[in-house]
Amino acid sequence: MFNVVANRILWACLMMAAISVVAFTLIQLPPGDFVDSYVNHKQQGGVIMTKDEVAEMRGTLGLDRPMYVQYFDWVGGVVQGDFGFSWEFRRPVSEIIGERLPLTLILAFTTLLFTYLTAIPIGIYSAVRQYSVGDHVFTVLGYIGLATPNFMFALVLLYFAHVFFGTSAGGLFSAEFETAPWSWARIVDLLAHLWVPVVVLGTAGTAFQIRTMRATLLDELNKLYVTAARASGVSEFRLLIKYPVRMAINPIVSTIGWELTNIISGAPIVGIVLSLPDTGPLFVDALLNSDLYLAGALILIYCGLVIIGTLISDLLLIALDPRIRMGSTA
């Protein structure tokens, strides 16, 4: 048991190291570096920089050193919580991210929670009452949810929120709370806004998980161990929750990491459409401006979240399934 857990954690760390190399390579891939886009920018403003000035700028920023030196320099800082300097914002990256990351985390994990808390009960209902009116309704809603692109869904919700509630559904705070310090009222205000991006980001995943839950549970309900438990006098509700639902939860749990990936990769677009003050729009800007350290830090954090999600689902599975816990292949 200890071995299995240690094994998964070790793998997560190795993955993280590999991801840091990939992240660093990715941000180097687009042609030109920050200095190039800076020079371009100046040129548009009518200022021509000399070759020497450009080279000197590269020197001060350390961009003339070999790639691997730059990489280790960067990773060394990251390990100590120093993600480098954003040239665009002229502030340390950790400061910028520190302001926006909590909202991203709140958004991602609320969406995850919303997805599973909605999908599991609906999936159970749909399986137990197969072909009932409710089952058909959820099936139709599910297909609509799966087929609608997030940005479209966001626009539709924006429109309806405006027409029916007279509120702007964009952003995560009302104007008066935008820069206010955290307080109970601010949290309530956040929740009043949060549901829009959560629903937008979570619907496709919820629809998918309902399908999975329904299919797996239908399968489990016909298994012999269910009949055997029924034959020993267990009541129907207890039977359902203790045996087939427990079994059907496992495949659902194993998709947590993957579901988190979907949420995180969908978030930037939704963030822009709904003008959310989280890291999504920041990430897109950083990529457009070749703001190397900011983009790198965000890629690393996003990948880190995905790895943490996978680790969570692995650890949950170990807790839930004795066959995995004991390292058997069955």
Binding site: L224, A229, A231, S232, V234, P322, M326
Partner: protein, 340 residues
């Protein structure tokens, strides 16, 4: 009906709904079982043995319905007859009977335990439901039962998961679970079919021993007449959802009347016959599909003694040929008919 009858099944007919049409899967089943008696239900795959057994505990899958007939359970614990066919299959009354008064073991020991719960947990569950017992007490019962079915080191096995046990051990654990509340009737649906031969023999002799010790009646489902000879007091031979011959085991095996029973016996390997170099005779043809039931006697398509214009026209009903022997065949018709 005799006073010491435990279970009476009368005119049982179970149908499946397919495309709005309702097709009988088993029909006209009449069985009685006395306290402590072992009845074997024999027949080829698909003839309706499991369905008959499941109906006794109202465990039929959704698509199958008891259409006519009555199952009466003379509950020794409640001291009164209970009409099982009249109970709600999800209701309280039947749940009191399941696991406590009537228990069941299944063909697949691999899948009849939940893989996510320990053996102990699943045995204790039955005890706690029916005995109002605390955790400690239930655990003690579980350990004792595992010990009685011959599982070594029961204190360790209660904490183990099903995948840690071999098939034979799991079937023993299943038997322990079934007997944990001392039921008056045990339904064993091919309990040894999935096990290899030496383990089969062990489990069979265990069941024989436990029957003597606990005194429960058993409905033993099998398609192996060799097993029937070893364990059963009475036997009912089923074909395509009907009982074609039934009676006391000795009488049926030594003096079979129905051509199907005769064929079944010829298909059993026996030592004496091998020495005489007599060949085993497989039964010709296959069981017809439910949806394609022959007109007349169900066995007419495979029988070697068909009476023309008789067997392919009408269906023979069970008639009593001696005190211990009934058969449904025109070759052995007597005047005293049992009404169908």
């Amino acid at each position: 009906m005799g006073q010491d009858n435990l279970l009476e099944i009368e005119n049982l007919r179970i149908c499946v709904d397919s495309d709005g049409e309702s097709l009988p899967i088993v029909d006209n089943i009449n069985l009685t079982l006395k306290v402590g008696e072992i009845l074997a239900l024999v027949g080829e795959s698909g003839c309706g043995k499991s369905v008959t057994a499941q109906s006794i505990m109202r465990l039929l899958p959704k698509m199958l319905k008891i259409e006519t007939g009555q199952i009466t359970w003379h509950s020794p614990k409640q001291g009164k007859p209970i009409d099982i066919t009249g109970l709600d299959p999800r209701g309280k009354e039947i749940r009191h009977i399941r696991g406590d008064e009537i228990a069941m073991i299944f063909q697949e020991p691999m899948s009849s335990f939940s893989p996510l719960h320990t053996i102990g947990n699943q045995i204790m569950e039955v005890v706690r439901i029916h005995r109002n017992a605390g955790k400690k007490e239930a655990r003690a019962v579980a350990v004792e039962m595992l010990d009685r079915v011959g599982i070594p080191d029961p204190n360790r096995v209660v904490e183990q998961y099903p995948h840690e046990l071999s098939g034979g051990m799991r079937q023993r654990a299943m038997i322990a679970k079934a007997l944990s509340c001392d039921p008056a009737l045990l339904i064993a649906d091919e309990p040894t079919t999935a096990l290899d031969v030496t383990i089969q023999a062990q489990v069979l002799s265990l069941m024989n021993d436990l029957q003597r010790e606990f005194g429960m009646a058993i409905v033993f489902i099998t398609h192996d007449l060799g097993v029937v000879a070893q364990v059963a007091d009475k036997v009912a031979i089923m074909y395509l959802g009907k009982i074609v011959e039934q009676g006391v085991t000795r009488e049926i095996l030594l003096n079979p009347k129905h051509p199907y029973t005769v064929n079944l016996l010829e298909a059993v390997p026996r030592l004496g016959r091998i020495e005489d170099r007599q060949a085993l005779v497989p039964i010709q043809g296959n069981v017809p599909s439910l949806f394609d039931r022959p007109i007349g006697c169900p066995f007419v398509t495979r029988c070697s003694k068909v009476i023309a214009d008789r067997c392919d026209v009408s269906n023979p009903s069970l008639s009593t040929i001696s005190k211990d022997h009934k058969v449904a065949c025109f070759l052995h018709e007597t005047t005293e008919r049992i009404p169908a």
